[in-house]
């Protein structure tokens, strides 16, 4: 019998995802250690403006002569932090709402789920655009909250469905028959069984939120300059795509790698955590 970690490592694609995600997270977290320059410092507007990649500037420099490599590292920090926190928020809210709907009476269930249905009918990006357009000068905290509170609908439906099926499982009936109280059943016996699907959604969710955040920043309503995030760097590089493609290309690569990494890891976790696939 292999341990969980061994099974995860055994799966080649999961291993790739795990490595990719770990490296990206590590590099982003330790950005000040790796970054050769301050990401917002304008080095020399005359000689170092839009320099192509070179040993001194591996990812080149941008229109303001800032080092793109340092900006991508720091930008990763912001993008990943936003994604992690927003996903944490949406998973928490989604799990609580879904759990309540799953264990609650028919009325509670209907009210919660119809609300979620209604919210899901509005495209998320449209919802975000409206909120962010009406809200001037959104800070990063507010951005995380907005991303978090618009992202839990799917999770809550998943958790509700999971709770409803768990409630009918033999061990819940057996524990009930032995006099274990309802609340304890729903907390102690049900919640830990939700871990697997929730972890998988969370992992896949991180990649998703990074994309959304990049999109919003690209549209100029997410992370505001001069703070770098992958989306905002791409946005700055957008108009210079023809003459300095490296400015937008490197953060673009970073996004692709991250999303692929989290997807691989998420799929791998699903396969490993799902008892049916053992």
């Amino acid at each position: 019998m292999k341990t969980f970690a061994q099974r995860l490592w055994w799966h080649r694609r999961t291993r790739a995802g795990l490595l990719l995600v770990s490296i990206l997270v590590l590099v982003a977290a330790l950005a000040p250690l790796f970054a050769p320059y301050d990401p917002t410092e304008q080095l020399d507007l005359v000689t170092r403006q839009m320099n192509p990649p070179s040993p001194a500037h591996p990812f080149g420099t941008d229109f303001f002569s800032r080092d793109v490599f340092s900006r991508v590292l720091y930008g990763g920090r912001i993008s990943l932090a936003i994604a992690f926190l927003a996903v944490f928020l949406s998973i928490t809210v989604g799990t609580i709402v879904g759990w309540l709907a799953g264990i609650g009476s028919r009325v509670v269930d209907s009210v919660l789920m119809r609300t979620v249905d209604a919210a899901l009918a509005i495209p998320r990006i449209f919802l975000l655009l409206v909120v962010l357009a009406l809200w001037n000068d959104v800070g990063i905290t507010a951005l995380i909250m907005i991303l978090g509170f618009t992202g839990w609908f799917g999770t809550s439906r998943l958790v509700r469905a999971e709770v409803l099926s768990l409630r009918e499982r033999g061990f819940i009936h057996a524990a009930h028959a032995l006099g274990i109280g309802k609340l304890r059943l729903f907390i102690r016996h049900l919640l830990p069984n939700l871990a697997a699907p929730v972890i998988v959604t969370a992992t896949l969710g991180v990649g998703h939120v990074i994309l959304i955040e990049a999109g919003l920043s690209f549209l100029g309503i997410g992370v505001r300059p001069p703070t770098p995030s992958w989306g905002s760097i791409i946005q700055e590089g957008q108009s210079l795509l023809a003459i300095a493609p490296w400015i937008a290309a490197f953060p673009g690569f970073a996004i692709v790698l991250t999303v692929v990494g989290f997807s691989l890891l998420g799929d791998g976790l699903r396969d490993t955590l799902d008892p049916r696939s053992r």
Partner: protein
Amino acid sequence: MNPILRVRRLSTSFRTADGWAPAVDDVSFDLYAGETLGLVGESGCGKTVTALSILRLLEGTSAQISKDSTVEYQNVDVLKLNGGALRRVRGAEIAMVFQDPTTSLNPVLTIGTQIVETLRAHRRISRRDARARGVELLRLVGLPDSEERLDAYPHQLSGGMQQRVMIAIALSCDPKILIADEPTTALDVTIQAQIIELLATLKQRLGMAMMLITHDLGIVAGIADRVAVMYGGQLVEVAPTRSLFREPVHPYTEALLKAVPRLDGPTQRLAVIPGSVPAATAWPAGCRFHPRCAHAWDRCGDEHPSLLSISDRHARCWLVEQPERRKP
């Protein structure tokens, strides 16, 4: 002697698209302290629903227990208890072991956690003492290395071991009655024998009463003191094991016994019961078994027999009143 459990007129119906389906209908029986009662019958005859109704485990489903049903445990009607009192009966007074141990244990909690939890749900006992009791219980049900097993997860144990754990959990609070619902159906044959033997030994040692639900007449013959046979949601015969097997009164019991292969005696084609069990929403008039019965006459289609007594046994059959009608 007073029975420890007295079930009277127990009727449980399920709401279906075709109207109310009486899954259990007018079931009355007594369970005495220290005895083993075997409840037998084919799939869907109402054995399990009877057991679940006794502990009111069907609440929250489409099932409804009729108002005049009573289930008296030590002279208290379980069907009228409030939530807290009911929970104290479940597990502590009447415990249940289910069919499939692989689904009855929570896969994400250790064995120890699940034993400790049941103990602490019913008793004021410290975690440490509960754990010590857990070790003792696992030893009682014959699990080797009980100390280490306490920290094992269910998937690390075999099916037979899991059923032993389920029995340990059920026995944790010294219940007076153990209801075992087909405890060996999901296990392979050699393990079945071990589990049945374990149940018999424990029942003896702890002085419990046991209600053993099964469709395996061999198991019943081996350990039950009395047998209750169910057909179509009703008890059709209740008798001491010996007399039931030697001389079945109800034609259904008779037919069931003929359908079991025997090791002693000549080899012959096994008998079958013609026809099939009708749906619970469409019982025939009169005796529910009469369309399939070899002895039936007009009265059986017109009048519904109640459980009639002869000496120390009961049968729901007009043959009790008119034994001359029995065909040879």
